[in-house]
């Protein structure tokens, strides 16, 4: 790639940090996130080389990445192991998550790939349901349905319920 397609190199350099974060939120694993984004870049490169840069390159790459993630999860069918609390304490440095954030993060791990993708795109990327639908090749209604089921799963997640029950009630 180096020296081959300079505009693609610039594209990788400019977009990698932002998209690696999205990949991390999807995979919840740093190494898997790097692999996922790398595979997505390679896939985009092949089209780029033959047809030139796609319109809305970043959106195209994100769409490729999200669909590769969903597809890989479908094929792998592995059970994710939630991050241990110690992992986060080791890596997060001074910003150790408070309990509620940690519980929510672990609860995200029980969602299906499509449900998690919807939440990440909606909440972290700030995308509309129509934009997400375009990414996932489905109808906006399906996105809303996936989001609804994701929220239901999260709200009924035992750890979240326990936390909500024990959390101090805010006074209005």
């Amino acid at each position: 790639m180096r020296g081959d397609l300079p505009d693609f190199e610039e594209f990788v350099a400019a977009r990698q940090h932002r998209l690696l974060r999205v990949a991390f939120l999807l995979t919840r694993d740093h190494h898997r996130a790097e692999d996922l984004l790398q595979d997505a870049f390679v896939k985009v490169y092949r089209r780029w080389r033959h047809e030139g840069p796609p319109e809305h390159s970043e959106a195209y790459l994100r769409r490729v990445m999200v669909n590769m993630y969903i597809s890989s999860r479908r094929h792998r069918r592995s059970t994710e192991v939630p991050l241990l609390e110690d992992d986060l304490v080791d890596t997060a440095g001074p910003s150790v998550p408070t309990d509620d954030r940690l519980i929510v993060w672990r609860a995200l791990g029980v969602l299906t790939a499509r449900q998690r993708a919807v939440l990440v795109l909606r909440i972290y990327e700030g995308m509309t349901d129509e934009e997400i639908a375009d990414h996932l090749h489905c109808a906006a209604g399906t996105v809303r349905s996936l989001a609804s089921r994701a929220y239901t799963t999260l709200r009924t997640h035992s750890e979240l319920l326990d936390w909500a029950a024990s959390a101090p009630k805010e006074k209005c």
């Binding site: 990698q16 940090h17 974060r21 984004l37 509620d100 954030r101 929510v104 995200l108 909440i123 999260l154």
Partner: protein, 235 residues
């Protein structure tokens, strides 16, 4: 936005702070090179009739990396001992079926190429990996392979024909190349290692090394890394 959304957003933003910068352009580059080489190698094996090997190679099932048993890589003799390339070393061997190391292959049980003439034995439809390190490793050309043995990772021209010569692939601190013996019958061939350019018109300057290849015997399979291999410098 309700409380759960806010909590999710906070949690996501907090956790992505763990994400550190990586050399993704470098990784993508290495991956593209590996894919290209695997496709080329698979195509060559398929053309030679070794479809099972081609399929396995295309699938990348052998992986790559350091020596499988974890021992230190032997330090080969220098191919060039004087001049700007003094200390350049090239080893040749079967592709390492060991664990992946960023997609880069390395020779298994390598033998060193020596300055001047070398002789190597290969089975039919076999392939061998070359790895260069040290000064000038990124300027090497695998030149002049013929029908008996050819440059497996060589470039193709605009019409898709395989070019007889091609540069080693730069992998950073080393460069690699692969040669194939595609003959279905026994035969002999030769290729040379040159600096910067192939020999396109006679007389040519002496190459860094010439490798005479004797193709003998039953075709070997890449899944059976026990091919006859020796490298002998011929004065």
């Amino acid at each position: 936005m309700d409380t759960l959304d806010e909590l999710l957003k906070e949690s996501m933003e907090l956790h992505v702070r763990q994400v550190t910068t990586v050399d993704l352009p470098g990784r993508v580059t290495r991956r593209l090179r590996r894919d290209r080489r695997l496709r080329t190698a698979a195509g060559s094996l398929a053309a030679a009739g070794s479809l099972a090997a081609a399929g396995a190679l295309a699938a990348g099932v052998w992986g790559v990396g350091a020596l499988r048993d974890g021992t230190a890589r032997p330090q080969p003799a220098a191919l060039a001992t004087t001049g700007e390339c003094a200390g350049l070393r090239i080893v040749i061997g079967r592709p390492n079926p060991g664990p992946s190391d960023q997609g880069i292959r390395s020779p298994l049980d390598p033998v060193a190429l020596l300055p001047g003439d070398n002789t190597i034995s290969m089975g039919r439809q076999d392939y061998l990996w070359l790895e260069a390190s040290g000064p000038c490793h990124d300027r090497l050309i695998l030149d002049g392979p013929g029908p008996v043995v050819h440059n497996g990772a060589g470039d193709v021209d605009a019409e898709g024909r395989k070019l007889p010569s091609g540069p080693f692939l730069d992998e950073g601190d080393r460069s690699t190349a692969v040669v194939f013996s595609n003959e279905v019958a026994d035969g002999e061939g030769v290729f040379t290692i040159r600096l910067d350019a192939a020999c396109t018109s006679k007389p040519c300057t002496p190459p860094l090394a010439s490798v005479h290849v004797a193709v003998r015997g039953t075709a070997t399979s890449p899944s059976d890394p026990g091919a006859v291999l020796d490298s002998t410098a011929t004065p």
